[in-house]
């Protein structure tokens, strides 16, 4: 009997132990998007004949998470890639896959990762599906927090280019210290938050050039400082303001590449911003100096491929089609740019504010080339040129912008915008023979709510210029029937084109159905290249004529 009792006890103990195995259940989620287009050749608008007639971009993400572990992959399919995207995106594959284990203070990722050091001046791996930009690092990424306020990151791998990786090996390290968090006992009374950071990134690429001795290991380092301070404006009401200062300096040793013309000059970048804000008012000032900071894991790469770093453009990002007609992109070889933006709210009930208040944004941004002195030493040292810090040369871009937003009645809201721009097409688009293009752009965006479900948005825009393709006028009407439907029609008319046959109406329409996280939208008509926002979402769209289809969902 004693033996049986023991056996019984062991069995029940086993049952109890089985009950104790509490593995939290894993979860699977994902999202996908398919963009397809049927192309009609249209020489008048410059839409080329597409041999496949219809093109498709598609991708699907699947993520598995279970407690501290997560893994995911992305399947991408370009059969073939749509017009306006890099044609090297061809075929299908799984270019992105990773597994991560996060043990609280230590997180390890193997496979593909995205990360950023500081503002990205020496390292930023990220993706933008709208541009098909993806320089994910394929290798190892470690994030470690050894003590409160100390954040360390390390990366080692190769960057994704299309369905393969670029030849260079990238290794990097970033450390950031929040002094107030680290020394919290003795800094408890310090009102300013002080955050220091430093990064070092090195790339290795074998030298296969027969003519030049190219450096195989190129290192870039950066240091940054962020100071944040709250200011009490009114002791009685507790009204506060905040000042935020950010400054970063980066230095890269000699890195001859196709983009910089194979010169041995080192690269430097300075980026700084000061922001002040309080309830109802915000002010931002930012300046940037870039000198020879093209940093890629393939020195022969051009376009958007194999970039290791990210040089933010200090210009206002526009999404209204004619406002975004002349967009600016940072010139890695050299530029000096600055931006000032002030946003404030005129309170409701005041004379200027009106019944509901008025929102105003003023923005001034400008970019210039470097005032550089060419050294004419191509035969020998190949240093290229010299340039002073923040000394502007040729004008590249300017945008003086005002935006007024106002709710007029309970059902009527409107935004009025005006911008005066200068656009250097030769430098920004790599063309030649164009003068500096001045353009005046005005936008009026009005929304009228008929009922709780039905609303009509009308967008009227005008771009005036005597240069380039001349002036444009745009009219857009978008009817939304909440919560599921939207219908939109748009006409962009290039009435100012010097060539009469090119004074074309780009008319197109779109209808969409939305439900939860799914949307399906079908469009037809002519599209000019640009960024368009319709039905609640913004995307980059190239010029074309035909049917478009977008299906997106997540689960």
């Amino acid at each position: 009997m004693k033996k049986n009792h023991l056996l019984l006890f062991l069995c029940l103990a086993g049952a109890a132990a089985a009950q104790g195995q509490n593995l939290s259940k894993g979860e699977i989620h994902g999202n996908f998007e398919i963009d397809a287009q049927y192309y009609n050749p249209d020489s008048a608008i410059g839409a080329p004949a597409v041999p496949e007639k219809a093109l498709m971009n598609g991708w699907g993400n699947v993520i598995y998470t279970n407690g501290k572990f997560s893994a995911g992959l992305r399947y991408e399919s370009y059969l073939n890639v749509m017009q306006g995207f890099d044609p090297r995106y061809k075929g299908t594959g799984i270019p992105y896959r990773y597994a991560t284990y996060d043990n609280g203070g230590l997180e390890i990722t193997v496979g593909s990762s995205y990360d950023q050091f500081g503002s990205g001046l020496v390292y930023r791996a990220y993706e933008d599906r709208g541009l098909l930009y993806d320089n994910a690092l394929d290798g190892v990424r470690v994030r470690y927090t050894p003590a409160k306020g100390v954040y360390l990151k390390g990366i080692w791998g190769k960057q994704r280019t299309f369905f393969t990786t670029s030849p260079g090996i990238v290794r990097g390290f970033d450390g950031e210290v929040n002094l107030n968090e680290l020394f919290d006992s003795c800094m408890a009374k310090v009102k300013t938050q002080i955050i220091l950071g430093g990064s070092f990134v090195s790339k290795f690429q074998a030298d296969q050039d027969p003519t030049f001795v190219l450096p195989e290991n190129v290192g870039a380092s950066a240091g940054r400082l962020n100071l944040i301070r709250d200011i009490t404006l009114n002791e009685a009401t507790g009204k506060k303001g905040q000042i935020n200062f950010y400054g970063e300096y980066a230095y890269k040793i000699n890195d001859p590449s196709t983009v910089n013309g194979l010169i041995y000059k080192p690269g430097e970048a300075i980026y700084s911003s000061v922001a002040y804000s309080q309830k109802g008012f915000g002010l931002l000032l930012a300046a940037k100096h870039i000198d020879n900071m093209n940093f890629r894991s393939d020195r022969t790469a051009t376009g958007n491929a194999a970039m290791i770093n990210y040089l933010p453009a200090l210009t206002r990002q526009h999404t209204y089609p004619l406002m975004a007609y002349y967009p600016y992109a940072t010139q890695p070889n050299g530029e000096v740019s600055w931006q000032a933006e002030m946003s404030f709210k005129l309170k409701k009930g005041t004379l200027l504010g009106g019944k509901y208040g008025t929102d105003i944004i003023l923005n001034y941004s400008a970019a210039y080339g470097l005032d550089s002195t060419n050294l004419h030493d191509e035969a020998g040292r190949r240093f290229g040129y010299t340039a002073e810090y923040f000394a502007p040369g040729d004008q590249y871009f300017q945008d003086i912008h005002i935006e007024i937003g106002k709710k007029l009645t309970n059902k009527l809201k409107g935004t009025l915008m005006y911008a005066s721009m200068y656009y250097n097409k030769n430098v920004i688009e790599g063309k030649s023979g164009y003068p500096l293009i001045p353009a005046q752009v005005a936008v009026l965006d009005v929304i009228y709510r008929f009922t709780d479900e039905i609303a009509l948005r009308t967008d009227l825009e005008h771009l005036y210029t005597k240069e380039d393709f001349g002036s444009w006028a745009l009219a857009l009407a978008e009817l939304s029937l909440a919560p599921h439907w939207f219908i939109a029609a748009m006409d962009q008319y290039n009435y100012g084109n010097k060539i009469e046959s090119k004074q074309i109406h780009y008319v197109n329409g779109q209808i969409g159905y939305l439900r939860g996280t799914s949307r399906i939208a079908i469009g037809y008509g002519k599209q000019r290249a640009g960024i368009f926002c319709v039905g609640g979402v913004c995307r980059f769209v190239p010029a074309s004529n035909g049917f478009t289809l977008v299906i997106t969902s997540s689960f």
Partner: protein
């Protein structure tokens, strides 16, 4: 007799184990997806982990937005117009996560302050939280119930959407199920 008792004990144990597993299973199963723990920055420069989102058992709205996304700003401004009433009635909290990168993230605090939003705003500059939450593009808005589980989400904004959002929030505040 001894053999039968042993056999019975075995079956009982196996049965207990089986029942124990089944009894444990519903407790282990998540009735809804919880928000993954990802690090972001506050507007004051400090780090904050999304696993720490709380609202004392009351509903939470998480909305992904960016300073360049006009529909996102329209949605958050439309919610702001009624937010005081929403809070009084349901205690809902709005967490606005900005996916602006280094180019635009310095503009987030000045914009939020100029609009006077009473939301918790976080910066997801590396877009880690956006990826972990399975967000394709913005605006993408989630509603969490009192247990921090995602009960509703949508990926667009049309005029009047915020009224439907509030109907969902009211139901969640009462503890009703959303289908």
């Amino acid at each position: 007799m001894k053999k039968i008792l042993t056999l019975l004990a075995f079956v009982a144990a196996a049965g207990t184990a089986g029942i124990a597993q089944e009894a444990a299973a519903p407790a282990q199963t998540n009735t809804g997806q919880k928000v993954p723990g990802v690090e972001m920055k506050t507007l004051d420069g400090k780090k904050f982990n999304s696993a720490d989102f709380k609202n004392d058992g009351k509903p939470i709205i998480i909305s992904f937005w960016a300073t360049w996304c006009a529909p996102c700003k329209k949605e958050l401004n439309a919610i702001a117009e009624n937010f005081e009433d929403w809070q009084k009635e349901t205690g809902v909290k709005v967490i606005a996560v900005s996916i602006d990168d280094a180019r635009n993230s310095p503009k987030v605090k000045p914009y939020v302050d100029s609009k006077g939003w009473e939301y918790e705003v976080y910066l997801d500059e590396n877009q880690d939280f956006k990826r972990a939450m399975n967000v394709n593009n913005v605006p993408h808005t989630f509603v969490l119930n009192g247990n921090g589980e995602i009960v509703y989400q949508y990926n667009n904004y049309v005029e009047g959407e915020e009224l439907k959002l509030y109907e969902i929030v009211k139901k969640v505040a009462k503890g009703e199920k959303i289908n």
